[in-house]
Structures are given as structure tokens and as C-alpha cells.
Symmetry: C2
């Protein structure tokens, strides 16, 4: 863009920011808003106030810096998670919560141990660099001696079944590529993630010694992307790793070129006995119905090898920012706003389950639950699960959201953690739906770091969440 | 995101990709598309084909890697620009253009010389690091001895006028912050860029010796953002630099703390005589009206200190990708498609002016001109300048674009380069409108590099451009 364009740009402003001028200039100028403006005009003023507050005074980005850079990786049960809980309590108090407390729950305690190793064992004398792999969460270690075996490349479960007689004594290599044709990348994830989740037991059933899974990513680098897996207890538990995309291609090519090549794989992880974790909860007491609840949250745990910036540091700091913004603007929600930093989304959902269980036991009335766990990217809308009547209300708010680039309200959904509350007591729920294009470049990988979060994108997501909660509080 | 979410995700796919299933599954399954599907259903099939082609076989990202990493910075008149022209010719031929040629034009020839220097001159004995500055494009050098003078901080032209008696013998420091309240960051740019464009002459009028301009950015780093300026020939030409945001704050604080502090500033740039540059043009001959034109382009030049990745390497490779995609899918536009890599957007618009001038002289019939020069970020829509009738046609295509996240067609506009064609002969025009949140983190700064471009975001922009041109070709 050349500077001579600014005249043109200013004319754009004149034409497109009528909205702001119409509704806000009277306030800026100290005039009273006409008493008879419509309800939606009044809401648009509040939206603008929320946006201005978040875009100028947000503490979300600084909070995220501390969480990612000073706390860092924080898998459930790890010392990092204990530090993160302390961080959460302090951040919620600083944001102005009336009450901050911990809700204990048992969490899985999986430890990676020493970094995993993998390499191609070839009779050729050429050098092949190590394969960049990460053990999958919840998987077992290989033992000190590791596994050395030929590799069977498989691209679908149908192929696995068809070739089941070839599996015994092999390392099964699921090399199913992330489908680039889906526009929303979560659909590519949904399409591919089964190999990570159940691939080990499916292969173990036929005698495989270990599995290597192509990372669920279309990133341009070679980072391996870990994530949770689960064993079917009917079959032996075997080691399971994710492999970076470039090394997946290299391994695939090598076993074609040299069918006798083997892979050596050693993982050092193990599952210990469950331990204690905590949901970190901060409340802003409802002005009219204090015993009715609006929940907003993200998960505080992250994979051990990353800073957990987008997954899900951003969801945590955005949720805290909602509370801070309400306090700063003097917005007193009628219902009690609960910010929940969930204890264990990544490899057990125990935090979400505990929260739902307690809500059910106490007979709490939950009006709405909102989650942010799809990355701190520019918001485009919300995925929602609620009654048709509630959905119709949200749809009526589209004109309020559109000036902020938020237009996509049609996809059903809700987050994994608040999903537990929905399942337990039918609470209406939604999840922030940010632009998804960059998420699987960094998801569950060592490059999910603070530097890959953009301050404004993060803040616009927090704005969207605060604005939605503001509307829901007075409408549901 | 936890893997147990994949069942849920798959259900999302089932519910939201009905569009794709409805229109594309018949093709995937080898069945004939029913003969009586509506025109818009047929178009939706083509849209899906374009998206699939771009998302699976695009050469845009690789082209961009070569342009940014092997050619690099390429200001008009520089050796880099000559290399870039060779690159452009080769890339257009590789994409399948029928004809590739150069269109010569005279361009400004501004050279930076040795990197500029600035520092605070203090009577205190404390150490202050150098100020991170970049000379503004088209500005004059300070001379060997540089400028050493007290600093007058100014935050508006109104303040400049009010304090004009204080300006003489000073360095004027325009410290107007980038307004974070605009949702589309180009509006913040339009609001702030006047200080870069005309600030030097406005201050020179009252005897200033040089100007320092706060960078037009809300980035979190200290990169200075250069860009073009212009002198008013009525006043002496004085040096002008942009300063990084952190150093702008540091300078502001220091001159408050120590009013006698001065700044030393040396710039080594100069404007040489105009030289020859070229628009690089590739054509795909129209199947029905070869003497009618659709233009699609970006600008090939970039600032010298950056790789010109988002500004505007992405626009160039996206425009080339449109042509490649049409060829790959056997789409034969009725009108001649012209991909134009403009020679000199940054500091003169001479490429766009030349293209428009030749079109006018030859009486060419230009149906539409599309530009991409707002970054290679996820597309959200198009800014358009055209007749009401044409705008109504585009609005009718909204349902086709919405599944690709493209919904914003309401803002008027068009690019700086195709704007010349619009001005000269009234050609309808549009500019790709990508998400703007990250653009001013890197705009005109050394961090505008390949690594900050996401492959899928780039490709989705190319898809949007190809889809719009496909529709316009058969409808305008």
C-alpha cells in the first residue's frame, strides 16, 4: 500500500464507519444518547464500548506472555500445571473477580520421560538423520531397548484390515495425509485424527509392535504434533508416536526404495497413578440472579512440549478478559459469571467432567456455557448448541456482530469442556469459532508458542466472547 | 482440542459440508451431474473445483519462496527489481500464459545508501541504545554530518500549527499512535499515514531540520516501518525517518525527562534520475472476445529493507495462480485474462499509470480489473468500485462464496494500481479484502518475510480471486 492511498482510505472510513459515527459520536461529544433509540442501537453502543475497552486496555496479551513464557508447558499432573494454577488464581483476582477458588479433581498423570528417539536402520551406508517424533499422550514406553522392526505403511483402516496378515512383528506407519480440501481445518482434523486416537490398538490387535502416525497438520515444517490416544484394553499396549510431515514423507520413500529397512524407536513415557488437579474458577456475582450461572472458559493444561499458547492459553486469557472488561465498564451481569480454567482437557477431560458433575449434584441452574479452545485467531463466529428459540435470538444479533467481522453462527458445536456440562444438565453452549487456517500448523507441537499469537486477533476474540455473554445474560 | 472430540467433529462435517456433498459427491462418484441443476449449482461445482485445484496443486507458495528468498527486496530501479522481472516472466510462462511480455515505464530511482543512524544525545552519562529508524522512501539524505537538534514532539497537525513558533531548528517528532479502535486496520492506517506522507514539508515550512515519524503499526516489536513520502516543493527538503514503536515511546519519555536532550540523525539516501522499469504481463487469450480484458495483478516492487512477502509478493503469486488454475482446470475465459505484475506501486504508482495510459491510448475494452495488495491473509471479501448493476450481480453470488468464508462485499475500493485504470477509462475494479489484523505488524518493515505468510491463507486468497474472475467473465 502506497501512502497516496490514504485519501482513498479516509473516504472508506467515512463511508463504512457510519455505524460508529452514528452511535458513538454523540457519546464522545458528551451529548446524551436520544432516549428513544432502539434496543439494538443501545446494544451497538455497548458493543462498541466493549471493543474499545478490549482493544485499548486488554490485559489478555500480557497475561498470555506470563503463562507461556514464565509457566510454559503444563500437562495435567505436572509441576507446570501447579504453577499455572497459581497464575490463574492471581490473574482472576487481578481481573476483579469477587471470588476465586480451586475445584479439585483427579487427573491422569502421564509423563514423557526422556525425549523419544527414532531412526531408520538401513544396510546402506548412507547417513539418515533421526526421525522427528513425539510420543502420543497416554501411550506406553517402549522399554530401554526400544523397538526395532520393519515398517508397514498403511493409509486407511480398510487397508489395515485387508493387510492384517502382514502386521505381525511390524511397526505400523499410518501415513494418512491431512486433507487440504476442507475449508475449515477442524474438518480435516476430524477426518484424520482417528489414527492417532485408536491406531495403536487397531494395529496391536494384529500383532504390531508399535505405531507411527503422520502428524495431523498441513504445516510446511517438520514438527511432530502429539495429542491424546487411548488403548483398547483387549489388546497389548504398544508404543505410539507422531512424526513430522517431512520425515513421514522421507520414511515412506525410504521403505519403498529399500523394503528391508527397519526403524528403531524408543519412547520413555509412562502412565502413573491419577493425581490431583484443579479447575481454577473466578466469579462475578450476578446482580439479579446470583444463583444462575454463565460459564466462560478455556483449559489451563497444555501439552508438555509446547507453551500451550493457542491451545489453550488464549482461551484462558480471553475468558479472564471477559470478566475484566465487564468490571472495567461497570457491566453488572444479572447472572453470576463464572470464568473456569479447566484442569485437564488434553488427555482426559477430567476438569470439564468434574465441573459438570458438581453442577449437577448441586442442582445449579446454568443458563449458558461458552468455551474458547480453537485458537486465538481472528474470530469469525460461534459454533452453538442450544434450543431453536435461543438460536433464533442469537441470529437476530447478527447485525450487531457483523461490523466486527463476526458472521458465522450456523455451525453446531461447543467445546470439549463445556460439552460435559451440556451432556450432564443440558446447558446451552457455544464455542468461539476463529479463523482456522493456521491452527494445525502449531497444534500440539513445539511451535505452539507466544510468538505465534497476534495481540489484536486475541483481543477481538475476547471482544466477541464478552459481547455474546452480554447479550445472552439479558436475553436467555 | 482433545482427540475424543473427533466424533463430534465428524458430526459437524456431516452437518455443514452438505454443500460439498450435495454438489460434488456425484462427480467424485463418477455420476453425471443432473442436467437440470440450476446455474448457481453449476457454479458451485466450479467453485469447488477451483478450490480443490488451488488447495492441492497451487504453485503460489513455492513461487513466493523464490521471489522472497532468492530475489528478496526489489525497489523500483534497483538490481533486485531486474531480477524480479526475470522471475515474473519465468513464473508466468510456467503457469501457462499464452504470451508474456514486458511493458516499459520510467520509474523513480531512490536509493537508501548506508543504513541510517539515530541516537539520543544526552548530557547524562547513562547509555542509551541507538534509535531504530528507517529513512522514508523518496526522502533526502542528511549529509555526512547528519542533523543534531532538540526534539519537538507533536501529535497532530493542529498542534504543529499552534506551536509553529517552536519548530525552527528542531527535529519534529510526530508521535501519533496507530488507533487500535478501528476493526479494519487499514482505517487506522488511513488515519495516521498523513504524518509520513506530508509531515516533512509541513514541519519544514516552519524551519524544522528533520522529522521522525512514529511507525504506522500496532505491532508488539520495535521494527521501524518505512513507506513513501512526498515533498511540497515550496519548502526545503529535510530528512525524514520512521521510528520503531518502542523507541518512539523511549524517545518521548526521554525528552520529557530531559528537555535538553537532542537527537543525532544521519540518513544517506538520495533520489537519482528516473530509470526504466517494467510491468510484467502474461496473457491467456479470450476464447470468445479476445480483445476484451480482465486484469488481475499485484505489484512486483517492494521496499528495499524487506522481502516484500505480504507487500506484495502474495498479490503477484496469487494473480499468477489464477492463470495457472484456469489452465489446469481447462477453464477458457471468454475475455483475455491479463496478469499484470506492476512495476512501481510503492513510491510512484508509475506501473499502474503506464498500464492505464497504454490501455487508454489503444482504446482497449477493459471489463474488470482485480488487485491483491492488502496482504496474503485469509480472504474475507472484496472491496469493489463498479456500477450498481454490476454490484447487484456480485451480491447475488454471495451464497457461492460464503462456504469459503468470504462474505464481505460492502466496502467500496479497489487497488492503487488498478485504480489508475479505473481513473483513466472507468474500468470496474475490486481488491481482495483479506483479514487485516496482522498486516501492520509487518507492513513496510524488515519482518515482511516469507515466514510470516501462511500457505493456506495465501491459497484461499488465490481461490477467491479466481472464483470472482470466473463469475465476472461470464456475467459482466
Amino acid at each position: 500500500m502506497l501512502f497516496v492511498g490514504w485519501g482513498q482510505l479516509i473516504s472508506f472510513i467515512a463511508q463504512t464507519d457510519r455505524f460508529m459515527r452514528k452511535y458513538l459520536l454523540p457519546i464522545f461529544l458528551g451529548c446524551a444518547v436520544p432516549a428513544l433509540v432502539s434496543a439494538q442501537q443501545q446494544d451497538s453502543v455497548i458493543f462498541r464500548q466493549i471493543a474499545d475497552e478490549v482493544l485499548t486496555h486488554s490485559t489478555a496479551y500480557d497475561n498470555l506472555r506470563v503463562l507461556t513464557k514464565e509457566v510454559g508447558g503444563r500437562l495435567a499432573g505436572s509441576p507446570g500445571m501447579v504453577k499455572a494454577e497459581h497464575w490463574g488464581v492471581a490473574a482472576l483476582k487481578a481481573a476483579g473477580a469477587d471470588t476465586v477458588y480451586l475445584q479439585a479433581c483427579m487427573v491422569p498423570h502421564w509423563v514423557r520421560g526422556a525425549r523419544e528417539e527414532a531412526r531408520i536402520i538401513s544396510k546402506r551406508r548412507d547417513y539418515t538423520p533421526p526421525l522427528n517424533v513425539l510420543a502420543l499422550g497416554n501411550s506406553v514406553g517402549s522399554g530401554e531397548g526400544g523397538v526395532t522392526a520393519p515398517v508397514l505403511e498403511i493409509s486407511s483402516y480398510e487397508e489395515l484390515e485387508a493387510r492384517k496378515d502382514e502386521v505381525k512383528g511390524k511397526i505400523v506407519f499410518y501415513n494418512y495425509p491431512f486433507n487440504p480440501k476442507f475449508i475449515k481445518t477442524f474438518h480435516s482434523y476430524g477426518d484424520a485424527v482417528k489414527f492417532r486416537g485408536s491406531g495403536a490398538s487397531r494395529a496391536s490387535k494384529y500383532g504390531a509392535l508399535a505405531v507411527i502416525v503422520r502428524s495431523m497438520s498441513h504445516g510446511a515444517n517438520n514438527e511432530p504434533h502429539t495429542g491424546a490416544m487411548q488403548y483398547d484394553t483387549a489388546y497389548p499396549r504398544i508404543p505410539a508416536v507422531a512424526i513430522g510431515l517431512q520425515d513421514a514423507d522421507r520414511l515412506s520413500q525410504r521403505i519403498k526404495d529399500e523394503p528391508s529397512a527397519q526403524v528403531f524407536l524408543r519412547t520413555n513415557c509412562r502412565m502413573l497413578a491419577d493425581t490431583i488437579g484443579h479447575n481454577v474458577i473466578g466469579e462475578l456475582k450476578g446482580s439479579k440472579y446470583p444463583d444462575q450461572y454463565l460459564t466462560v472458559g478455556g483449559h489451563l493444561d497444555s501439552w508438555d512440549v509446547a507453551e500451550g499458547a493457542h491451545d489453550d492459553g488464549t482461551g484462558c486469557v480471553q475468558s479472564i478478559e471477559v470478566l475484566r472488561t465487564f468490571k472495567a465498564l461497570g457491566i453488572k451481569p444479572e447472572r453470576t459469571l463464572r470464568v473456569v480454567l479447566f484442569a485437564n482437557e488434553e488427555n482426559g477431560t477430567r476438569g470439564g467432567k468434574k465441573y459438570a458433575q458438581v453442577a449437577k449434584e448441586r442442582g445449579e441452574k446454568h443458563i449458558f456455557a461458552l468455551e474458547s479452545d480453537a485458537g486465538g485467531f481472528t474470530p469469525r463466529g460461534f459454533m452453538m448448541t442450544m434450543s431453536d428459540e435461543q438460536r433464533a435470538k442469537v441470529n437476530a444479533w447478527r447485525p450487531l456482530f457483523l461490523p466486527y467481522g463476526i458472521y458465522d453462527f450456523d455451525e453446531p458445536g461447543g467445546g470439549v469442556d463445556v460439552g460435559q456440562l451440556n451432556a450432564a444438565i443440558g446447558a446451552p453452549m457455544a464455542e468461539l469459532s476463529p479463523d482456522s487456517q493456521r491452527y494445525f500448523d502449531i497444534h500440539h507441537a513445539p511451535n505452539d508458542v507466544f510468538e505465534n499469537v497476534n495481540k489484536r486477533e486475541l483481543e477481538l476474540g475476547a471482544f466477541a466472547m464478552a459481547a455474546l455473554l452480554y447479550m445472552v445474560d439479558k436475553s436467555f
